[in-house]
């Protein structure tokens, strides 16, 4: 019973991360956009849904939609300005934006509760299911449903002409432009859609934990989601999801071990060790399987692989 409780708790988190990793995969894996501001867009989604459902009393489902809309609008504004930048500059910019978003959450006390965050975020269906195992399992089912829906939607997108254009722009922008594909428009679309998924991930997190604070959205979150994508294999949705489960598994197990093994005074250093551990894992994966556990395939469109009739 305890194992079931722990398992559902673990899988809930892993699935929430999977939603974020799917969003990042669309941006990096398919469009080559180096977004190092994942935590910022997750925060926007989490706060948007939390505020809409607490302050305004909206139903949770509308809160989630609001989270996606808020993250999407923010991404659109950021993207208009930042997507002109190439690789490393885009990374620096998005990182800075994520830090700003986190600082706003910390300091705009009237709106976000400042360092105290937002409490008593409604947990959907908890009126019927209580707060125990039954609710955990129901929420897990809900999150898995969201992962499934995101997966289905993304597969439709990327395994077709739209995904093919993204891949082409990622590989050679000048060649894609010479074939009539406007790079900026597609980049912006991929950036906004990816950030909407990150925002949705934030909302799923907020309503699972029931409490959010600025310290939930530190750059280490961005690092985790990136680690998941690299380990699982970017350019493949299966890689994003598998990476989320695997890296989150290693993260929680190593966290538990360090708590048990290290004396109280060394706990803070233990947390840093976790980051090192994941870093080593990434390095090992990159050496052994440069494309991650599930690398991308050469064929993009599901229709291109079929044999001509």
């Amino acid at each position: 019973m305890e194992l079931l409780a722990y398992g559902s708790f673990f899988l809930c988190f892993a699935s929430i991360f999977a939603v974020m990793a799917l969003g990042l995969n669309l941006q990096w894996g398919f469009a080559g956009l180096f977004n190092v501001g994942v935590a910022g867009f997750v925060a926007i989604g989490a706060y948007a849904s939390a505020l809409l459902t607490t302050s305004l009393g909206w139903p949770v489902a509308l809160g989630w939609i609001g989270a996606m809309a808020a993250a999407g609008i923010a991404a659109f504004i950021v993207g208009l300005a930042a997507l002109r930048l190439r690789e490393d500059y885009l990374a620096i910019t998005t990182f800075g934006i994520a830090v700003v978003i986190q600082l706003v959450a910390l300091n705009a006390q009237a709106l976000t509760g400042g360092p105290f965050g937002i409490q008593s975020i409604p947990k959907p269906l908890s009126a019927w299911l209580g707060a125990g195992l039954a609710w955990n399992l129901a929420y897990l089912a809900l999150v898995l449903g969201v992962v499934g829906l995101a997966w289905w939607g993304l597969e439709r997108l990327v395994a077709g002409p739209w995904g093919r254009v993204l891949r082409a722009i990622r590989e050679d922008e000048a060649a894609a432009a010479s074939l009539g594909k406007p790079a900026r428009r597609y980049r912006l679309q991929a950036f906004v859609l990816g950030c909407m998924l990150m925002g949705l991930g934030g909302a799923l997190y907020a309503h699972f934990v029931g409490y959010i604070a600025p310290e939930d959205f530190l750059p280490v979150l961005t690092f985790q989601v990136w680690a998941m994508l690299i380990v699982g294999g970017s350019g493949r949705n299966l890689g994003a999801v598998a990476g989320a489960v695997l890296v989150w598994g290693i993260w929680t197990v190593s966290g538990g071990l360090l708590r048990d093994l290290l004396p109280q005074a060394e706990q803070a250093r233990g947390a840093a060790l976790q980051v090192v551990l994941i870093g080593v894992l990434i390095a090992a994966i990159l050496v052994a399987r440069p494309r991650g556990l599930f690398g991308e395939r050469a064929t993009v469109s599901r229709h291109a692989a079929e044999d001509a009739t």
Binding site: D172, A175, A177, L179, A304, A305
Partner: protein, 249 residues
């Protein structure tokens, strides 16, 4: 069909292309030759939208195209290949070609969700068209291979197929013969002849005089950014000004 009037391009220093004017006739294969550094590729880039001319105007069938982005120029029916081919290396040869047809339904992301059946049907049509052009350039056997495995000459052929599937009115070829083994060069020349007979117009930059002499009527000679003369390949080859431009005074 394409008219360039007084086209100039400078990058801050002395002009690389200076006051170049010419007209391309529909159905012709026009050659563009000149010594290295004459400004041929720069002129190409101005025509294709990769560079914005500093002065002058370019029209394609009466529509102004100078100052448009490359993707917009392509939309007007002018396609180009590159001196050093630019395949999408991680994509299959087939999908390199499937990418090119303009205005695909599934290029708008929402249609992939809202009208998956129509997108799938269109994908099958585009796949068959892409296969047809791969067959035309003789790359069918490599259709499902990633483009990175192709040789230099095969990459040139892939670029040709990729451009052809979009059915442009005018194709700019930047050195289709450079770095291509002789048997493949023969193939490329034959393909250009067949396409031209079917009505496609070409503008070709080329150093290989065998190709120029066989295919191009007329030939434009560019030297030090200026248009030196225009004429049949035989005349051009004999002209003392051309010989001087190539060999130096």
């Amino acid at each position: 069909m394409l008219v360039a009037e007084g086209v100039s391009k400078s990058f801050g220093g002395p002009p690389v292309v200076q006051d170049v004017s010419f007209t391309l006739t529909r159905g012709a294969i026009t050659g563009l030759i000149g010594p290295n550094g004459a400004g041929k590729t720069t002129l190409f880039n101005c025509l294709a939208g990769s560079l914005k001319p500093s002065a002058g105007r370019i029209t394609l069938d009466g529509v102004r195209i100078d100052g448009l982005r490359p993707d917009q120029v392509f939309g007007h029916g002018l396609a180009r290949t590159f001196q050093i081919p630019k395949p999408f290396p991680a994509m299959t040869v087939l999908e390199n070609v499937m990418l090119a047809p303009p205005g695909q339904l599934g290029e708008r992301f929402w249609t992939n969700w809202l009208r998956p059946g129509a997108v799938a049907a269109e994908e099958r049509r585009i796949r068959d068209r892409a296969r047809h052009w791969l067959d035309f350039v003789g790359l069918t056997r490599l259709a499902q291979e990633p483009a990175r495995v192709l040789s230099g000459g095969q990459r040139k052929l892939l670029e040709l197929a990729r451009v052809l599937v979009a059915e442009p009115r005018l194709i700019l070829l930047d050195e289709p013969g450079a770095g291509v083994a002789p048997p493949l060069l023969e193939t490329i020349m034959e393909k250009i002849e067949v396409l031209n007979a079917q009505g496609t117009s070409f503008l070709i930059i080329e150093h290989n005089m065998e190709l120029v002499t066989r295919l191009c009527r007329p030939v434009l000679v560019l030297a030090q950014g200026r248009l030196l003369l225009e004429g049949a390949p035989e005349e051009v080859k004999r002209d003392p000004r051309v010989i001087e431009a190539y060999l130096g005074a």
